[in-house]
């Protein structure tokens, strides 16, 4: 065999390997989407007949409806609070030296590595002790803690891209620090803040493990409702709602990507 042919074969093998990995990554989503349109309640491939009735079932199922509303409530509160906390803190970290800065930063970034079930259990016990275990507060606080590291990273990226000379120029023109913040920093950081808010919202809406620990019957979010559904039923209603989930998430990601390049945010994911 000539070396040219060998190289071409190696190349094709490499391509085939990568394609196989991509198939592995997309397979579950594709399978779930097919399963969602299966008319029969029992899983089968390929489905014998197709129907959208499971979608109807999914969107009219009361637990899912309530879970959706709860998840949205938690998401809006958690992501908004996380953006305020994350933006102010990232700004302070970027601009000032103060005592305990590194410690505070380490504490707030640590939910990236502390097991989620530990965080969930911790807040569950804490909430029980202060008698708040059945309300939204504990769920929202848990979510803020979990999504904050991601928000902080988004804000750091925007801060790093902010030319400090912009602030100096404004100051030279007579803008007080507060004015610089309002007229220069805020507008220039806005896309980054919005991107961070989007990421926080997506992560919060999807959060499951810690949420399972801290929600009660009244505050159950959609992922928890879905988990309970899978444990009880086997029909494709879950497949239908998963499909909706996947499509919505992909759309949200595309929007988030518009405001703050995904690549940019993720390239620093490595962090420390």
């Amino acid at each position: 065999m000539s070396s040219g042919i060998r190289w071409r074969m190696a190349r094709w093998l490499g391509i085939a390997f990568v394609v196989a990995i991509l198939v592995y990554l997309t397979l579950p989503a594709v399978v779930v989407m097919i399963a969602a349109f299966n008319e029969k309640a029992i899983l089968s491939f390929p489905p014998e007949s197709y129907s959208v009735k499971w979608f109807v079932n999914a969107v009219t199922y009361p637990d899912f409806q309530k879970g959706f509303v709860n998840a949205v409530i938690v998401m809006l509160w958690a992501s908004t609070i996380a953006v305020v906390v994350g933006a102010t803190f990232a700004f302070a970290v970027d601009r000032f030296r103060f005592r305990g800065k590194a410690l505070l930063e380490a504490i707030l970034m640590s939910p990236l590595v502390v097991p989620k079930f530990t965080i969930g259990l911790g807040f569950l016990i804490l909430a029980a002790q202060v008698d708040m275990s059945r309300g939204f507060t504990v769920v929202v606080v848990t979510h803020v803690v979990l999504v904050l590291p991601f928000v902080m990273r988004c804000v750091y990226v925007s801060l790093r891209n902010l030319d400090r000379d912009m602030e100096r120029a404004a100051e030279a023109l007579g803008a007080s620090p507060l004015m610089v913040l309002i007229k220069i920093d805020l507008p220039l950081l806005l896309p980054g803040l919005f991107g961070g808010w989007m990421f926080a919202a997506i992560l919060s809406f999807n959060e499951f493990t810690a949420t399972l620990f801290v929600t009660g019957a009244r505050t159950e979010t959609l992922p928890v409702a879905m988990y309970n559904y899978v444990r009880e039923f086997v029909d494709p209603t879950m497949a239908a709602i998963s499909t909706i989930f996947i499509v919505l998430t992909a759309l949200l990601l595309i929007v988030a990507d518009r405001f703050l390049g995904l690549g940019k945010v993720l390239a620093i994911e490595e962090g420390r």
């Binding site: 000379d165 100096r168 120029a169 404004a170 100051e171 030279a172 023109l173 007579g174």
Partner: protein, 363 residues
């Protein structure tokens, strides 16, 4: 007297950790003058500018703008305009809003803002560009918007932080002329920071040559070029040869120095070393030297090492043993044929403008 001083630094020192960026600098900038802070990167010139602006606070010393002591005053309460290296035009505002920003911060009435911004745009020859976005402008135009933004507030002093360095060469030359012209027309006191000695020579009324946190020389450009006060200034301004030599004799109004085998006479006024036997540096501009046959009396000897054709002139590099490489510059094309690479050559010239400075024997 204080009336015609726009900015005054009084024994100002700024340290960053263990590094002293600016060391006991005193400087008075006259009203209406164009003063350049010139020096290599890291010499402290930008620190000096930031001390005037208030972006940095001195560890010691005082800063005055006009008659007001501003040492502890934050930048936004000082009265200066500034043009940044990358212009720092606000990307979320159009040209008009960029220029109006300082006026709005000063709560100037609306109608007056309109007319003053338009006037500023006219001054920088960008009339009608108000609605444009900074992104849509060329480098030169952005530069002019930045300038308009800085002068529209009619500050006591205009600070320019290497504003031309982001432009390409041709544009830079054009903007130099324009900058100088606008400055003269508006009559604004200007402090200009650059590492480009050409820029400094062509724009300034006075140049402060800075090295290691100190002002080495403060004088007119012509004076700095012709009559440098020390070897740093001599080597920094203009192209110059620095040749190791030895002071042999001081007699009358001339000194004799030994350069290799050659004996050379230099006016005493141009020699900053005093004792016979001292090691010295001889500073000679390349255009002063000319090639002669090697047997010429008192010529510096060497070998032609390379010809570098540069269009308007030719540079000849001469390898002169322990003296190092000596450059000469000529407009005469014939030189390349008469003195081919490898030829032995003697160097002579009118050394009335040469400079002699003491040399550490370590150098």
């Amino acid at each position: 007297m204080a009336d015609d001083i726009a900015v005054r630094l009084d024994r100002v020192t700024k340290r960053f950790g263990s590094v002293t960026a600016v060391s006991e600098v005193s400087l008075q900038v006259r009203r209406g003058e164009f003063l350049t802070l010139l020096g290599p990167s890291g010499c402290g010139k930008t620190t000096l500018l930031n001390l005037v602006a208030g972006f940095l606070e001195p560890d010691q010393g005082e800063v005055y703008i006009g008659e007001t002591r501003v040492t502890q005053v934050p930048p936004f309460q000082r009265d200066f305009g500034m043009v940044f290296q990358n212009y720092a035009l606000f990307p979320h505002m159009d040209v008009f809003e960029n220029i109006a920003f300082g006026l709005r911060m000063r709560k100037v009435p609306k109608g007056e803002i309109q007319s003053r911004v338009e006037e500023a745009l006219d001054i920088v020859r960008l009339g009608g560009y108000g609605a444009r976005h900074a992104r849509e402008l060329s480098g030169g135009q952005q530069q002019r918007v930045a300038l308009a933004r800085a002068i529209v507030i009619r500050p006591q002093v205009l600070l320019l932080d290497e504003p031309l360095s982001a432009l390409d060469k041709n544009l830079r030359a054009r903007m130099q002329v324009e900058l100088k012209e606008i400055q003269r027309r508006v009559g604004i006191t200007t402090i200009f920071v650059t590492h480009d000695q050409g820029e400094a020579l062509s724009l300034s009324d006075r140049i402060a040559v800075i090295s290691e946190g100190k002002i080495q020389q403060l004088s007119s450009p012509d004076e700095a070029y012709r009559n440098p006060e020390n070897s740093f200034v001599a080597s920094f301004i203009g192209d110059i040869n620095r040749i190791p030599a030895r002071l042999v004799e001081v007699s009358g109004d001339e000194v004799a120095i030994a350069v290799g085998e050659a004996r050379i006479r230099v006016p005493k006024a141009r020699c900053h070393a005093s004792r016979a036997g001292d090691p010295v540096w001889l500073f000679v501009r390349p255009e002063v030297l000319e090639p002669v046959p090697e047997d010429t009396e008192n010529a510096i000897l060497g070998t032609i090492y390379a010809h570098v054709y540069q269009g308007a002139h030719i540079e000849i590099h001469v390898e002169a043993g322990a003296l190092g490489t000596i450059h000469l510059r000529t407009r005469d094309d014939g030189v390349m044929a008469r003195w081919p690479v490898g030829a032995r050559v003697g160097l002579v010239g009118d050394l009335g403008g040469a400079m002699v400075f003491p040399r550490d024997s370590r150098d």
